[in-house]
Symmetry: C2
Subunit: 215 residues, 2 copies
């Protein structure tokens, strides 16, 4: 992070880069603090300390706490949408759903904070991203349901309710991020190792793919 800052300041170092870099540092800090303390429990001072900047500087880049929070939520949503592309262009459920599980599990490992912020936002009634749920997410969901239904019609999987299958995919994959602390506690207090993450991915994939009769 610090190294990046120095690099970007040396190489094409311009005013724009200062802004871009600081916004990134602040967003990363905010994601972590919002995840660990919730929106209400997070303070601008905590985020500032985590980012290594004075509090007033945060308000120079982000007008309000809500504004900063909104950007954090949008970020994780876009990451998930990108990963969801694996669903398309897949010939069948093994590649489509299996690949989607892989991607979402990887995100749960690399972006646990973002996942928690999203979960918290939805649990509180989605006050700032309700429009996303009603537009982008709804459209995406309907599209995926159609894809699953096609696989069912083609006999590539059993006739399960596509909607509840999607919920299960979301729930199961995000659980490893949102409830990571509980999982770690039940793992003798240690984070899952590489091998254990592989095991988790394999277990989830097998349970789901066998559950829908794709293998």
């Amino acid at each position: 992070m610090t190294a990046d800052a120095q690099i970007s300041r040396i190489k094409p170092g311009r005013r724009t880069d200062i802004r871009r870099e600081n916004e990134r540092v602040i967003l990363d800090a905010a994601e972590k603090v919002f995840a660990e303390a919730g929106f209400g429990g997070a303070t601008m001072q905590l985020i500032a300390d985590m980012a290594g900047l004075p509090k007033a500087n945060l308000h120079y880049y982000f007008a309000t706490k809500e504004d900063l929070y909104r950007k954090v939520v949008q970020q994780i949503f876009e990451i998930w949408l990108d990963a969801a592309m694996l669903f398309d262009d897949a010939p069948g459920p093994v590649e489509g759903i299996g690949g989607y599980i892989d991607a979402k599990m990887d995100i749960s490992r690399t972006h646990p904070h973002g996942s928690k912020v999203w979960a918290s936002e939805v649990m509180h009634g989605a006050p700032v991203i309700q429009d996303y749920l009603e537009t982008t997410l709804r459209d995406w969901t309907e599209g995926r349901i159609k894809a699953i239904q096609r696989w069912i019609d083609e006999g590539k999987m059993r006739p399960v309710n596509p909607r509840h299958l999607l919920y299960m995919l979301w729930a199961t994959t995000q659980h490893y991020a949102d409830f990571g602390h509980q999982i770690q506690t039940l793992n003798d207090g240690k984070p899952l190792s590489d091998r254990q993450w592989q095991e988790a991915k394999a277990s989830v994939k097998e349970l789901v793919l066998r559950g829908i009769g794709a293998i």
Copy 2:
């Protein structure tokens, strides 16, 4: 709720009942507010308004905000533990796991607030219930893993990783409470009907039981 208050005030109406009743009203209000706003976003004033009592009265029954919060978390944990009894005394996975799914799905419908408070608590690193995770939950989990392993050894289900199976059960069932708002939004803004809840339970049970090769 009001009726209960009147009844309990008339029937065996004693000092103890006033305390019991008020504590219940406050706990119910607190559960809802903590679920909707998070610990940091919840205020004693909001809880007091929801309970229909002056704020100072809350502090008469519960010393601090943390104290009140702790009681709320303990409550949902006990409800879940009770439901988990269905796991025991079951001859096989169809009854044991199937019954557990039924029970947890019912709780997700009847106690969505408690589930959200628990999720929020764990996501924030379980600051107040870490000891529960390390003792009661860990013991319960180990016991259930043994039970599942026994079913596997008896050939009643496929050899899946019991730990990840449990995580899937928790994730999937609690998803219907924790992400209820998202599910409702994707259901044209309407809460799931009785029929839709039946469909959800059936889908989850079939996916899981088929996934583990129990049906």
